[in-house]
């Protein structure tokens, strides 16, 4: 009997040190992907009994996964839609929304493109098909190749609503499934233009200054300009989770909202929440 008890004790201790006690699944926005991954990595370092998995797919994909119960947290670069709220209500699922960071949208071109600034109206004209050559917007004689995210993306929705003033993208716009593929395509195509979260911009592409006052002032997407609100294309980033998993995910989300969590935001290239 004594041996048996010691054996049970040893078994319990072994499992206590080898298996995580809780898992958190995060799915959704490609914009939030690098940030969510870094948060997960840092949080797990200090909480070894938690396992967090992070996948992308787009804001719409994340919220759909929340509705059908295959994710704990849906990340989104747009607000949840009314149709999605109704589906959650029909499924008897109460949810909560938390703004976790802000993001500036950069309009990017190939580094070989001489154009370095555009007005909102010019950007709208490019993506709606009004302008088809760079020489119409102050550049060289070169065809414009416009790239966009697919319609399931929150980035797509935000850009359409706030930059294109809800106008349709031109049918000639090339729709890409992920931010990385937009970066890749623009870096390889001299006449290309697209839009991505500021954190994704690297030396393979060039971000341009944007004017929202018809060319009076142009502002470059930088951390400082986004924080002081002089750069106009800034949007909140969201976490959505079901109330029934709050106990499981809230410690992680609370940590994200602390100074440590927000430092990760700035380090990755997103805009921390104002204190």
């Amino acid at each position: 009997m004594k041996k048996f008890l010691i054996l049970v004790a040893l078994t319990s201790i072994t499992f206590a040190f080898t298996l995580p006690l809780a898992t958190i699944k995060i799915k959704g926005s490609d914009t939030l992907l690098p940030l969510a991954q870094k948060w997960a990595e840092n949080y797990m370092k200090n909480n070894t009994n938690i396992s967090i998995t992070v996948t992308g797919g787009g804001s719409g994909v994340g919220i759909a996964a929340l509705i059908d119960g295959t994710t704990d947290i849906a990340t989104a670069s747009r607000k949840i839609k009314m149709d999605e709220r109704l589906k959650l209500q029909e499924a008897g699922k109460a949810f909560k929304e938390v703004i976790v960071a802000n993001d500036a949208l950069s309009v990017i071109v190939n580094p070989g493109n001489k154009v370095s600034q555009l007005t909102r109206e010019q950007i709208e004209g490019i993506f709606t098909g009004k302008f088809t050559n760079w020489n119409q917007v102050g550049g060289e004689d070169m065809k414009i190749v416009a790239y966009s995210r697919e319609s399931s993306s929150g980035t797509f929705e935000f850009f359409k609503d706030h930059v294109l003033n809800k106008k349709n993208f031109a049918s000639s716009c090339l729709m890409m499934p992920a931010t990385g593929s937009i970066i890749q395509s623009i870096s390889q195509t001299k006449g290309a233009i697209g839009y991505v979260g500021m954190a994704y911009v690297n030396d393979k592409v060039k971000d341009i200054s944007v004017s929202y006052d018809k060319g009076k002032t142009y502002v470059l997407p930088t951390m400082q300009n986004a924080t002081n609100k002089t750069y106009p294309i800034v949007r909140p980033l969201y976490f959505y989770y079901l109330s029934k998993v709050e106990k499981n995910v809230k410690p992680f989300i609370d940590w994200i909202l602390t100074a440590s969590g927000q430092k990760v935001v700035a380090d990755i290239g997103y805009i921390p929440l104002q204190k």
Partner: protein, 439 residues
């Protein structure tokens, strides 16, 4: 010695347990990347094919109680003569949908204790340029109003309004329809226009050349940062009902000042089509507040309905009618108030509807005879001309994405008339307790 052996046993046990994880780690196999890529590609190809085929469905089992055995009811059908309580499988739907990029095929059947019947069978084709225009052909919901095509698994009350069940029995018809509905990427995605031609006799084979037209325009938009959704619509139905005899009855003033049916018995009436004409308007509004989601929906319809002497129901048969035709001006209305309680699983439902199959007569003027001088003549009015109003009070519990429980009480009131047996309100209130499973 014994102590030494015991210690050794314990030590060995501990080492076995601790090494278990190391052993499983060593057993993990790492395949070459290109092999993994091939496997993934094969799996993706199969998954892409399987994703085109979708199975969905829902089951609704219920218990009902009516005030009096054998009463007629629009709360799931008439009660048997000797029964005031019943169990039933109200709906057992199975829908198979095959989606290709610009085409879709759908079949839906209904399996209950009454048998197996089919509900939908249609093909849908969408244009691959604008993705805005679609053509649907087969048997599907008539594009009129809001509640007809609002699925029964979503609807908060157990049954549709009386006027809908009467004017559009089975909801579906055989025909073809063109739809203009831009995709969500378009700035006009809030507009939907339907226009179709239908046989007009429900889920039945066609028996004449008459085709009915149904047109609908609906607008739907979100507002206030996606916390409000509103919609409005207008619908029009124009068709004909085959006149099986030369006797055509329409409402005319009678000699005592009331209204009743007078007959036109011209030989030319037979084989002609009596005008079936409906006008409809609908509106929906939902708002998400901290107190929960609040939804209001309302629909109104009026028009001219050709039907039989004892019922104002629309034709639902695969053979031409052989009875006299009665033309009635009618109207109908339904409204819902649905309140979710503070984003919990609980909803409260209040519904009000009326159906007046004959707007030219009401109350005690609905009578079977009238005085024409010394003579007593028939008005040809019947229970088919009686107005009904229904209040519904319900509670819905959304257990999860599959299961929903509903308790609903329908307070059915008919107008008091001079007709024998219909002088007072009938005892036909119904309590429904329903469980729904959806997948």
């Amino acid at each position: 010695m014994k102590k030494k052996r015991n210690f050794l046993n314990l030590f060995l046990t501990g080492m076995v347990l601790l090494s278990f994880k190391a052993v499983t780690a060593q057993e993990t196999m790492y395949l070459p990347v290109d092999s993994l890529g091939n496997i993934t590609s094969l799996i993706q190809s199969d998954v892409d094919k399987l994703k085109k085929l979708k199975f969905t469905g829902y089951f609704q089992g219920q218990f009902q109680y009516i005030d009096l055995a054998g009463m007629k009811s629009f709360e799931g059908g008439n009660f048997p003569a000797a029964s005031d309580k019943r169990f039933s499988v109200r709906r057992g739907r199975l829908k198979v949908q095959y989606d290709n990029v610009f085409s879709q095929y759908v079949v839906q059947i209904d399996v209950t204790e009454k048998g197996v019947s089919f509900k939908d069978a249609y093909a849908l084709f969408t244009d691959n340029w604008s993705h805005s225009i679609a053509i649907k052909t087969g048997v599907f919901d008539r594009p009129f109003g809001h509640e007809i095509s609002y699925s029964s698994h979503l609807r908060e009350s157990p049954e549709r309004a009386r006027w809908e069940q009467t004017l559009f029995p089975g909801e579906r018809d055989l025909g073809s329809m063109i739809t203009f509905n831009p995709p969500k990427t378009s700035r006009f995605n809030w507009i939907k226009v339907n226009a179709g031609l239908f046989c007009g006799n429900g889920i039945n084979p066609e028996f004449d050349s008459q085709k009915d037209f149904i047109g609908q325009i609906s607008l739907s938009k979100s507002a206030w940062e996606e916390r409000i959704k509103w919609g409005i619509g207008a619908s029009y139905y124009e068709g004909g009902v085959y006149q099986g005899t030369k006797y055509l009855y329409s409402l005319k003033p009678l000699s005592d000042g009331s209204e009743g049916f007078k007959v036109d018995s011209a030989d030319a009436n037979k084989d002609r089509q009596a005008l079936r004409q409906y006008y409809g308007a609908d509106a929906q509004f939902s708002i998400d507040l901290p107190s929960g989601m609040t939804t209001l929906r309302a629909e109104y319809i009026f028009g001219s309905q050709p039907a039989g002497a004892s019922s104002s129901s629309s034709i639902s048969s695969g053979t031409a009618p052989t009875t006299d035709t009665y033309i009635r001006p009618f109207d109908g209305f339904n409204a819902y108030f649905i309140q979710n309680i503070a984003h919990t699983k609980h909803d409260i439902v209040v519904k009000y509807d009326w159906y007046d199959p004959n707007t030219k007569v009401e109350g005690l003027a609905v009578k079977s005879t009238y005085k024409d001088g010394e003579n007593t003549k028939s008005t040809k009015l019947s229970a088919a001309d009686m107005k009904y109003t229904t209040w519904g009070f319900g509670y819905v519990y959304h257990m999860d994405e599959h299961v929903k429980l509903t308790a609903y009480y329908a307070l059915v009131k008919n107008e008091s008339t001079t007709l024998k047996g219909y002088e007072k309100d009938l005892k036909d209130n119904v309590l429904t307790l329903r469980v729904q499973y959806k997948f």
